[in-house]
Amino acid sequence: MGPESKKVGHSAPPAHLSVRGIQKRFGGVHALRGVDFEVARGEVMALVGDNGAGKSTLMKVLAGAYVADEGQFFLDGANVSISNPNDAADLGIQIVYQDLSLCENLDVAANLSLGSEPVKPGWTILPRILRPLDDLEMEVKAKEAFDKLEVRTLQSVRAKVGGLSGGQRQAIAIARAVGADSTVVMLDEPTAALGVAQTRQVLEVVKRLRETNHAVVYISHNMRDIFDVADRICVLRHGGNVATYQRSETTPDEIVVAMTRGRANEVNDAA
């Protein structure tokens, strides 16, 4: 297998979301220097790179939290633009931030519906924000979301998030992203703060996302997790692409070398 096949787009499933030539500058810092990236449905694409490689910047550009200076976005081949978080949400792109963005004082069901609370029908004389909440509908939606993801560690959707474990919280944050009719789910270091058992729970949920035909972007530093869950691995370095590898055709050592020194053959060429 030649080096060319390791480039984005070759021997890969048709991309659901893809971006080309993304540039992003913060003042004098050139954070992204023409990055290409793609992810297909039913696939877990790992995004790896050393600190400062541009992983988080790229993800925030995809989520609309940052606006790219240059670059093109394609969804199922159609040219789209993402300039704010609502654009991304409308296109079905959801992000699970590392801090999870959960309200610990609210219960699980309330967190899943946060910002899009269902209200009871009728009451049209009142503005929407003052209509009665349909909290039972919220619980039903929450139960459906957890059933879909096969999360069985939560005993009650009425439990306060403040009393739950890190793995359970991660599952709630993922379920919220999935519940919003999303097709692309991006996870930022979902297992960074978790122990062994809880990491396994979260990885099960990520695999379940692949089975439900979501396009999953998975940012992590942990090679073991990546080789457990990812289908392809996209390596960034100094704000540019190094290569995209098929998991079955690479090794953790090769990825680490790519992250720290760039492509092995380039190193050889230079030598």
Partner: protein, 406 residues
Amino acid sequence: MQPDGRISVLDRFRTMRETRIGSFAPVLLALAAIWAWFGLALPLWDLASGQADGFRAIFLSPRNIYNLFMQSALIATLAVGITTVLLLGEIDLSAAATAGVCAALLGVMVLAGMPGWLACLIVMAIGIVMGAAQGVLVAYVGIPSFVVTLAGLLGYQGLMQKILPTGNLNVGDPFVRGFTRVLIPDIWGLALGALCIVLFAYASLQKQARRRALGLEVDPPLALWGQVLAFGTIVIAVIVTLNAYRSLPLLLVLLVGITTLLGWITTSTPFGRSLFAVGGNAESARRAGFNVNRIRVAAFGIVGLMAAIGGIFGASRFGSVSYTAFAGGSLLLEAIGAAVIGGTSLFGGRGSVWNAILGALVIGSLGNGLDLTGASAADKLMVSGAILILAVAVDALSRRDGSTGQ
């Protein structure tokens, strides 16, 4: 946290506080303790030590309970308003001064011959503007609410003195005085109470039936009927006690009505949910699409409205407007104390307007009971301070649970 699997008393206490009824438990216990002390323990002690001829239950007499409720009503009105900003994690130090300005304006307007109802409506609108203006400074200019409302406290105190140069004004308007003078006839009071209980039971059963139909977890019947029974007992006991002295005053009906409305808004509407979300984690609320700034302004508008209503109630009860009764007195600290003693967290995201009413009763009972035993103003201040510290300590202990979860 508990490797041996045992649950400590503190943990059990924390889990209890998480449930809906359990959040009332600490303040109800405090209230029961204060009532038992002033109503039973002190009279029994007097009897045993021979200082009294017979058992004199002055504190728990219907007459005193009536006065206690009326005294606490003004504190409760402000505390209910302050609770809405505390839910956001903000504070309002200007509520009592706002109430004072509104009461003074009300007095001046009815003195000039304006009809009472119109003056009340105008004053309520002014209260909303005074509150919302501070909300704009907090939300859009980004000044901490403590500073904005401290400035509001000073400014509105001065404004009240400007409106009332003599510091005192009698209010004789029959409409305004009517809030405290009008009594609901005994039989109608009981009928109203019965109606409330039936509605409460109906709503609970209805919800239970829907839960079952949707296949959701169902509360045990014991808990359901326990709630209905507890609610019914309290309502009937209060109405019977008030009837035994005079009757149910309109003021209390209005206060309960307003609190019900605000309680419903804060717990059962998207707006109320947004208050809790912003108080719990403002950044998540923003990411979830809530307009955090507008929510802040609305919450401060609600405090302003409740302060104006408090001003109207105060003018009605005292029959006069005085600087010391509102802006210059201890009303503000009593109202904030009532909200906090009720279990509303100063850190935001946890609390309930109903707890503020109970907290106001705790503060009111303390003052009333100490007055009856002939305690000095100095004793009252020190005891109130101790109770407040106790309440905030309870809040801080139950708060620690959430932050160690991760």
